[in-house]
Structures are given as C-alpha cells and as structure tokens.
C-alpha cells in the first residue's frame, strides 16, 4: 500500500461512523445507505490531493459527506460490485437501541435535505461557525434555519402525539 492509500484508509477508519451516520440519515434503506457510503468514500479519495489542510479534517469530511448525499443521483442505476460487511441492519434490527435510532431517522428524514445536514451537525454539538463553513451558509443563516427546524420538529412531534 502506498503512503497516500494508507493515510486514506486511516482517515476512513477513524471517521467511518460519522460518514455512515450521514449516509444513514439520507437513505431510505440499507442498500441505499451502503451505496451512499461508497460514493462518499470515492469522493473523499478523489478530493484527497486537493485537500490542503486549510480547514480541519473533520470539516472537510462532513462537507464531502453531505455534498455527496445531497447531490446523489438517486435515479442512477446502482452498482453492486462491492458489498459492505455490515452485520447489523439499522433499518430492521428489533433491539431497543435500533428502534431509538430508527425514530431519529424518521424525524430527520422528514426534513428537507439541506435542513437534515444542519440539524445533524447541530446534534453532533458542532458550533454555528463550523456548521456554516461545512454547508456553505452564513452563521446568521444557520441560526435562522435552526430555529425553523426546531419549530418543524416540535410540530412533527405534536402531530405524532395527536
């Protein structure tokens, strides 16, 4: 393995859960999540050379993950050349943790793709400045959108209770 390949493999292993959680929130089923995950890895690999460490590696990874998932062409024919060795299917497992995760997926999935990205970053505890840098909008815009998203989530919850 070349040096850059080893470096890439390390980055992916270190950030796999962040990347996969983005893919999971943008996917409708396990297959689509796997496809998106593979697509994000491809874009990260292609962007490795142009990443000049001007921003933090986390910011870059979030940005590539969201951009890929938001702009993924869902109509494209899926290529099933490589299967992921994922043992647990988050969409179907019956345990309580998976049920909780599915509940989160349902809530987030009802939002618009751009809002999904913002709320996920906010839930991760990322600052408004960094969220703005990742999704490409101003800090003010982040806070305005977050207020709106929280309202929407609250409304969804009250509708669900009724």
């Amino acid at each position: 393995m070349k040096e850059n390949e080893r470096q890439f493999a390390d980055i992916v292993r270190q950030h796999k859960s962040s990347i996969y959680s983005v893919c999971y929130m943008f996917a409708k089923d396990a297959d689509e999540a796997d496809d998106l995950f593979q697509e994000v890895l491809i874009n990260l690999w292609k962007g490795m050379d142009s990443f000049r460490h001007e921003s933090k590696i986390n910011t870059w990874i979030w940005r590539v993950s969201f951009n890929t998932c938001i702009s993924a062409d869902r109509k494209r024919k899926r290529k099933k050349e490589v299967r992921l060795s994922m043992d647990v299917n988050l969409f179907e497992s019956p345990d309580e943790d998976s049920r909780q995760i599915r509940m989160l997926h349902e809530r987030i999935h009802r939002l618009q793709p751009f809002d999904r990205a913002i709320v996920m970053l906010w839930l991760e505890g990322i600052s408004y400045e960094e969220i703005g840098a990742i999704v490409g909008i101003s800090v003010k815009n982040v806070s305005v959108r977050l207020v709106r998203i929280k309202e929407m989530l609250k409304q969804m919850n009250s509708n669900g209770e009724e």
């Binding site: 990260l44 962007g47 060795s85 989160l104 618009q112 839930l123 919850n157």
Partner: protein, 194 residues
C-alpha cells in the same frame, strides 16, 4: 420549553447511540477500499478527458488526410488545424471548471455557479461552432471538388466528407444533450436544496 428540551435531548441521545453502534461495526473492508481507490473521475469529466485525448489524434489524422493523401490548399489545411486546436483549448479550459474534487467538497452554491458557467460556455461554443463547421465543410467540399482529375474520386471524397460530417454532427449533438442533461440535473438538485 421543557418539551423542546426533551425532544432535542432525546435526539442527541439517539445520535450518540447511532455513533456508538457504528463504532462497534466493521463497515470498512479491504475490497471496498481497493474499489474506491481505483475509481476514476465523473461521467462528464471523463467524457471531456476523452475528447481532449482525441483532439491531437484528429489533428494528426487531418494532416495525414489533407496534406499527404489528398492534398488540399494550405489555407484550408491550416484553418482545419486551427479550428481543431481551438476546440482542444476550449475543452481544456471548460474541463478545469469541472474539477470533480471541487464538486464533492466545495461550497454547493459556488459549485452551482460554476456549473451554470460551464453550461453557458458550452452553449455559446455550440452556437459558434455550428456555423464554423458548416463554413468549413463547404470550403472543404469546394477544395475536394477541385481535387485531382478523376471526377469519380472527387465525388467519392465529397460524399465521404458529407457522410462523415453528418454522422459526426449527430453524435456530437447527442453527446452534448446528454452532457447538458447531467449538468442540468445536478444544478436542479443544488437549487432545490439551497
């Protein structure tokens, strides 16, 4: 307020659960990594790359055809080569706009602007190139009609050129439309979400 806090607190706990679950899973395997590393650039980008490689070959072929095999006037040959060189330069410049790494990691709004610029350039290029190609074909046909002494050979050359031109034009328009479809789809998706 309490409700708001509870919901968001619950969502934070759920995302922590998800991360914890994923941390314990093996979702990255060697085959996946190898497959990812072998991946080449995107559809449109690779099409432009192919065109970029073909351009010098076509220039050499034109030289071989019209300077050695069926010599035409130097002015027409030079015009043909300049036209092809112009195409090559345009493709190179427009390809730079489509650096796929930027599309993946750049600011989506900025990328959308780049794509729109790419599209505008391609459309202008089409409007300029169609009359140019028609004029060039007329000139070439005129040159070939005055080539050599055998009228059958002349006619065969003209027919060959016209047939080649029509086939080339149809393929070009088809590829142009499919490239624009890809770009429009991405632009539409970015506009929808931003």
């Amino acid at each position: 307020m309490t409700n708001d806090f509870n919901e968001l607190g619950e969502m934070r706990r759920q995302i922590a659960l998800l991360k914890e679950k994923l941390d314990n899973e093996s979702i990255v395997n060697d085959r996946l990594m190898r497959s990812v590393m072998k991946t080449k650039v995107g559809k449109v980008d690779s099409y432009l790359l192919k065109l970029l490689f073909i351009t010098p070959l076509v220039m050499a072929l034109m030289y071989l055809d019209f300077a050695i095999m069926f010599p035409i006037s130097t002015a027409c040959l030079v015009a043909t080569e300049i036209m092809l060189l112009g195409c090559g330069i345009f493709i190179y410049l427009n390809k730079r706009l489509l650096a796929s790494a930027d599309l993946a990691s750049g600011n989506l709004v900025e990328e959308c602007k780049k794509l729109v610029r790419f599209k505008k350039r391609e459309i202008r290029y089409l409007y300029v190139s169609i009359p140019l190609v028609l004029a060039w074909m007329a000139w070439l046909s005129y040159e070939l009609l005055h080539y050599g002494n055998d009228p059958t050979e002349r006619l065969a050359l003209v027919y060959g050129c016209v047939f080649g031109g029509i086939v080339g034009f149809c393929i070009g328009i088809y590829k142009f439309r499919s490239m624009m479809r890809n770009i429009n789809e991405v632009v539409r998706q970015i506009e929808e979400i931003s």
